[in-house]
């Protein structure tokens, strides 16, 4: 972790994507989802990624977070070059360095809110006490202390998404990727959740990319990036 932080501070970038191309091959067909994308996110910057459906937003996030490997180009997260990583290295990278909040609520249904946060520790570093303290602190920041022992089914949509945000922050990531975090919420709840995201990111100085269709969200971001047909038009 210290080496990551050090290298991040030397480059000063949470994310550097250079000439990223992603081609999906479906049967004999080729879909160019990303076409020579260059994107740099500073170490404490919040970027809103906006674009029509099918423009490549999810693909971009997946590559930035090490879920997908690009067909071409290079990706560095917090100074760590991940383009050549094996599947196993990518898994370890995701565990240690990035946070994800998905479009659909993807909490583990048989675990309480607090346990959903602690899963991050169980699959990885096993810090025990330290992790439990961190989970309690995050739950408090997210206003979920009195919901900590509720199962996801007993939480509202906004509360579930807040738990997902807490889970994404458990590993103290260099970069958090939000793929349409508010699309399942009504607009006032969505607004509230995005404000919370902004506060959390700014308080920690963590970089984030927030994918959205929703124009009202973009003013919470430091910068808005438009993507269309796999190309970035800033």
């Amino acid at each position: 972790m210290t080496t990551l932080a050090e290298s991040a501070s030397t480059t000063g970038h949470a994310l550097e994507m250079r000439a990223i191309t992603k081609i999906y091959r479906v049967a004999d067909d080729e879909v160019v989802a990303l076409d020579h994308v260059d994107l740099t996110v500073a170490s404490d910057e919040i970027v809103a990624l906006v674009g029509p459906s099918g423009s490549g937003k999810t693909t971009l996030c997946s590559i930035a977070g090490g879920l997908l490997s690009p067909t071409n180009g290079s990706v560095a997260v917090a100074g760590q070059e991940i383009s050549g990583y094996s599947g196993r290295q990518l898994t370890e990278f995701r565990r240690a360095s990035v946070g994800f909040v998905f479009q659909t609520v993807n909490l583990i249904p048989f675990l309480t809110a607090r346990e959903n946060l602690l899963v991050v520790d169980e699959i990885g570093p096993r810090l025990g006490r330290v992790a439990r303290d961190r989970a309690d602190q995050l739950l408090e920041e997210l206003g979920l202390t009195d919901r900590a022992s509720n199962l996801p089914a007993q939480l509202s949509g906004g509360q579930k998404q807040r738990v997902a945000i807490g889970r994404a922050l458990m590993n103290d990531p260099s970069l958090v990727l939000f793929d349409e975090p508010t699309s399942a919420l009504d607009s006032s709840l969505g607004d509230q959740v995005v404000r919370l995201i902004r506060d959390e990111m700014k308080a920690r100085g963590t970089a984030a990319i927030i994918v959205t269709h929703d124009d009202r969200i973009t003013h919470y971001a430091d910068r808005t990036v438009n993507i269309e047909d796999g190309r970035i038009a800033e």
Binding site: T58, C61, S62, G65, L67, L68, R88, T91, E92, R94, R95, A96, F100, F102, Q103, T104, N106, I108, F110, L111, E115, V119, V120, E122, I123, G124, R167, A168, N171, L177, D179, E180
Partner: protein, 371 residues
């Protein structure tokens, strides 16, 4: 592991079907095993009780006690083999017994043994002529200390002076007396099989192995092939029906284990398919396939252990409920624990069919619009 355990605690219903089926399989495995052990024990007790290293049959006996006869001169040859320390004669005869208190036509099948070297549980000096020790399975047939049993067509009387356990033979209760008692009863009831004084069916030999050749080889060489010497284990396995019983039962047990593997494989394959989305999310946040698969194996082992535990309790209960001398069933710790171990191994093997599916889950599928 914590995750796998929590899932089992919070969602026990998910695992109920698999646990119930595996429990039935565990009970079946343990019951079949116990029946096999019981059957084998009831046909081999008389030999297993021998405090001997080898059993000497006559060379033409085809490893059968009933067909074997050892003449006194052969016995002398065996006694003078270096390494042989003690030699005793053994004789047997199967006869129906009339037990006081039972109907005149209600014969109890028994085997009367004559011995010199005391088997486990019997006094070193055989009882006086006409006196016998009875295997305790005969208690269920009204035999008591002091009972006089009339054996065979000649109704030769023997009187029970005590009991001995685990010495059954061919599934029948045994009576243990002196060689003299045996010869008397045999000659009175089996005119075709009369033996002269000094003749026995087999020799029970204690001894040590000297040099490279084992005791059996040296004895058979010294008698120039007049004897066929077997270790007690070989003699037990040569008893009629024993190896057949073992192979039939072990085949049924083998099929049962295969069924257990199939049940676990199917069940956890279904569970893994159901969990594809969950595994996608866990992989996306950094769980390795190894961690996820370890969770599957852990759950399968827990299910197998619960099933085994219920099976063990059921077997012990059954063992306690079965009246002595009815069904030849024994629940031995070795059998119960080995059945549990086999079931756990079957569960682990069954899980491995889900390994590929766990490896194939794509974490990229977790993010994005469609879960």
């Amino acid at each position: 592991m914590t995750l796998a355990l929590r899932e089992m605690r919070r969602r026990p219903g998910r695992f109920a079907v698999a646990t119930i089926i595996l429990t039935l399989i565990a009970i079946l495995l343990m019951f079949l095993g116990g029946l096999l052990d019981g059957l084998v024990a009831s046909s081999t007790g008389a030999f297993r009780a021998q405090r001997a290293d080898v059993l000497v049959y006559s060379g033409n006996s085809r490893n059968s006690l009933e067909r074997s006869r050892i003449e006194p001169d052969v016995r002398h040859q065996v006694e003078s083999v270096p390494g042989v320390t003690r030699v005793g004669g053994l004789g047997s005869v199967q006869l129906g017994g009339r037990v006081p208190g039972r109907g005149a036509r209600d014969l109890v099948p028994t085997v009367l043994f004559g011995y010199e070297l005391a088997p486990r549980g019997l006094p070193s000096t055989p009882p006086a002529a006409g006196m016998v020790y009875a295997n305790d399975s005969l208690r269920a047939k009204n035999v008591e200390v002091g009972s006089t049993i009339r054996l065979g067509p000649a109704r030769s009387a023997v009187t029970v002076v005590g009991f001995v356990s685990d010495t059954r033979y061919s599934g029948q209760g045994t009576l243990w007396g002196s060689l003299e008692t045996w010869r008397q009863v045999l000659n009175a009831n089996r005119p075709d099989a009369r033996v002269r004084p000094g003749v026995v069916q087999a020799l029970v030999v204690q001894g040590v192995s000297l040099g490279s050749a084992g005791l059996p080889e040296r004895i058979d060489r010294a008698t120039d092939g007049a004897t066929k010497t077997l270790t007690i284990t070989q003699a037990v396995n040569a008893l009629p029906g024993v190896s057949q019983q073992r192979s039939v039962f072990n085949q049924i047990i083998g099929v049962t284990v295969v069924i257990a593997i199939v049940v676990v494989a199917l069940f956890f394959a279904l569970l893994t398919i159901e969990r594809t989305a969950l595994y996608g999310v866990l992989k996306a946040i950094g769980a390795s396939s190894r961690t996820l698969f370890a969770g599957v194996v852990f759950q399968a082992v827990v299910v197998a252990l619960i099933a085994s535990l219920i099976g063990i309790v059921a077997s012990l209960t059954l063992n306690a409920l079965i009246p002595a001398g009815t069904i030849p069933f024994v629940a031995t710790p070795a059998r119960l624990l080995s059945s549990a171990a086999v079931l756990v191994v079957a569960a682990v093997v069954g899980c491995t069919f889900s390994l590929r599916r766990v490896l194939r889950v794509d974490p990229a599928a977790a993010i994005g619009g469609t879960p």
